[in-house]
Subunit: 457 residues, 2 copies
């Protein structure tokens, strides 16, 4: 089978665009999760037509295909569990169009988030989701996971900006979904079936994104709390107050300590910290919102509230927050980054529960999160060589997923299901929904060649 695949790739894309070299296959065995499996080949298609032709061949020959962006996924969704072919979309990295007149950008899936940001910046426009991995993650990956980030509370996630797609289907057809218009009610919303599908229904070969004008004013502040629970209550209060901050982030003690160990930020090593940004066109508007937020910080027992005195200070706070994954990864040799979202009323409860969970299972948890939309990232830090500890980590993780669903939450706010959460999907989704998802998978990909064994479909 491998030989037939190699021959096909050689004939179809030519020797420079595919690989069976061990060094490449090892790179393509894993993503940013702990999962691993080696594929038989890797391919770097340069056109939608090549993607389609490769899928058609693999579909006929029943060879698994795992599409891959930058491999920054945290749940194993780019890991080729069944071997076969890894399709790296990284060479399809062109920004095809930026049209302010049409308020949209058209990109290939391999464009890095930051590259689009850079292209839009001179016009005063941006693509708001702002994932923490934006410096490396690709827009195709953003679409595959419905990626979010710090601006989610006010600006939503990737799905809110995808106007249309070109998708290669497993049988080799290319399909356009959506519209170049700001709104449409024409036919079924095929676009949103592919956003967040983790490459299990089709391979996205082109993305049309709505773009937003970047607000021209903002104000930033931080508040410290004795306990994360107090910070959580402040979050619920803020989000029901009438104000929607453009950013509302939470950082726990373990993360603050780790940031200080790796920087000269000198952050206060308190129980919990909230970072807030409000935005608008005028300073009066952003200050008005910030004052309302600060009142709610104080009402919920903030120890200290400090406004950023300058843009530089604000930027360094955001940088500190964005570095949290990197600095936490130095705490221990293994990490399990969780990514649940809970209803806005449950933020404080979940934060208290996480403390309790860590104590009961004797595991270390460092938590940050996009608090403004209830999206928390508790990271379990552990010694991957200690079997007993690994067992405790998995037990804690399993209990956490059950609790998240019990309070009406979701297993993943922005990272996707991938492999790690696949066994838990039916906790969250009822039987009819699971049957429907599996039926849709079968409808689009009857031979189950596209990113198999992901998402429990």
């Amino acid at each position: 089978m491998s030989e037939k695949l190699y021959d096909f790739l050689e004939k179809t894309v030519g020797k420079d665009l595919w690989t069976k070299d061990l060094i490449d296959l090892v790179s393509y065995s894993s993503d940013a999760s702990l999962n691993k499996n080696r594929p038989e080949a890797g391919v770097w298609p340069e056109t939608a037509e090549q993607v389609a032709a490769i899928l058609a061949f693999c579909n006929r020959e029943k060879i698994p295909v795992t599409p891959r962006g930058a491999g920054t996924g945290l749940t194993g969704l780019a890991v080729p569990v069944q071997g076969g072919l890894v399709m790296d979309l990284g060479r399809m990295d062109k920004i095809l169009k930026v049209s302010l007149d049409d308020r949209l950008a058209v990109v290939q899936p391999g464009v890095v988030y930051a590259a689009l940001e850079e292209a839009l910046d001179p016009y005063g426009f941006f693509f708001p989701p702002d994932p923490a991995s934006g410096k490396v993650a690709t827009l195709g990956g953003n679409v595959a996971t419905n990626a979010g980030g710090m601006k989610g509370a006010k600006y939503g996630t990737t799905k809110d900006y995808v106007l249309g797609l070109q998708v290669a289907l497993p049988d080799g057809r290319l399909m356009r979904t959506g519209s170049n218009t700001m709104k449409t009610s024409s036919g079924y919303n095929l676009t949103q079936l592919f956003v967040g599908c983790e490459g299990t229904l089709g391979v996205v070969t082109e993305i049309t994104l709505k773009i937003n004008p970047r607000p021209t004013a903002n104000s930033t502040a931080l508040a410290t709390f004795d306990k994360m629970e107090q910070a959580g209550r402040a979050v619920t209060d803020i989000m029901k107050s009438g104000i929607i901050p453009s950013v509302l982030e939470i950082i726990d003690n373990a993360t603050l300590v780790a940031i200080n160990q790796n920087s000269d930020m000198g952050l206060p090593e308190v129980g919990g910290m909230l970072l807030v940004e409000t935005d608008g066109y005028t300073q009066g508007e952003t200050e008005y919102q910030l004052e309302k937020v600060i009142d709610l910080f104080k009402k919920n027992g903030a120890l200290e509230v400090r406004k950023a005195a300058s843009d530089e200070e604000a930027q360094s706070l955001w940088l500190a927050r964005k570095s949290s994954y990197a600095v936490i990864s130095r705490i221990s040799n293994a990490l399990l980054v969780e990514d649940m979202a809970v209803p806005m009323s449950q933020v404080a409860y979940m934060l208290a529960y996480l403390d309790d969970l860590a104590a009961r299972h004797k595991v270390r948890i460092a938590t940050v999160g996009h608090a403004g939309d209830g999206n928390l990232h508790p990271t379990i830090c552990f010694d991957g060589t200690d079997e007993e500890e690994v067992k405790r980590v998995h037990a804690a993780s399993k209990e956490l997923f059950k609790k998240v669903v019990e309070v009406g939450g979701t297993l993943t706010g922005e990272h996707g299901i991938g492999m790690d959460k696949a066994p838990y999907m039916s906790l969250e989704h009822d039987q009819a929904a699971m049957e429907t998802m599996r039926g849709l998978k079968k409808f689009f990909d009857p031979n189950n060649i596209l990113n198999p064994d992901k998402m429990s479909v």
Copy 2:
């Protein structure tokens, strides 16, 4: 077959909740479009379980079921083309929950848009789509068509607020989709398959909506222009300027004249008018935006720019705009309300094209629109008893659809495809997309009982 259906309904919902009376069946023969066909029965289910049981029976017996909200649809989507059963969801009209802590509302499909608005108003929250028919249209209908309205340019449409659904599937299963959280990347986005599906894939029995804080400040202005084309160019300029007005509406001369004939508004009967609202938390913010917009009005040759001096004046302008459908409907005995959206760069071109189209086909067109998202409503006003004129209307309509697609637009921005645009769907969607939509229809509704003959699926 009818007798068997009547027996089933009598047994299942009881005599007060179904009808075969001629007067009811005549009411259920049409919606706000020009289409008509009489069903064999009507039913008013009160629970999701009744809806599911009715679908299961009709699926077994292959009886067509047409779900219906308030019947305000303009494309025939509530018309029971194949007869059978009309399922009026109007009795499922309870607001089940308003939770500010969770930033959401849970409603039954028969709740009228205005009733939810009223329920949210005391808390300073709202559900933004704001369809023009909001005083009577139901939220279930809003979901079925992905309804939009005047706030779309800044706040999006119904789809942007539906967090989750309960849906009755044709085989009688009840399914929950989505989440009570502000974001999720868990599994396929089943929710958005049902938003805008026009009741062809399932019947929505419960809706969970994200709600927004209502801005506390706004500023309103109008600008008059000699030609609609100039107004259209101002629209494109505004939407690329960095400002996103909360409302940006366009009204043509024919509509202005009609409004004046039916009110004491005394609007200037110019070639075209733009109405704009900017919003925020502070008056400084809204005025700042308004001044920017006004500069662009002037740059594009506005004859007059007038700020609303008071809230009352602003309200009366919005009321005038919202009355346009009612006043235009008095011009002639028949109307065809079109509803296309075009890319933002094409607004001016389409407005000029509409003038030309009307002249060439000798038809009268009155145009209003949600200009800020490129959604135009040219209404063809005609004498439905004049066969020659009816032919010209259909010819003009067909040419219009082709042109819309040619400039990259969509057949419908917010009304849906229904019956009227079904023949034109494949102009907009490529073959793979049409096949996929038809395949999805078959997957969810293999016996084609749900709102058959709509949307060309």
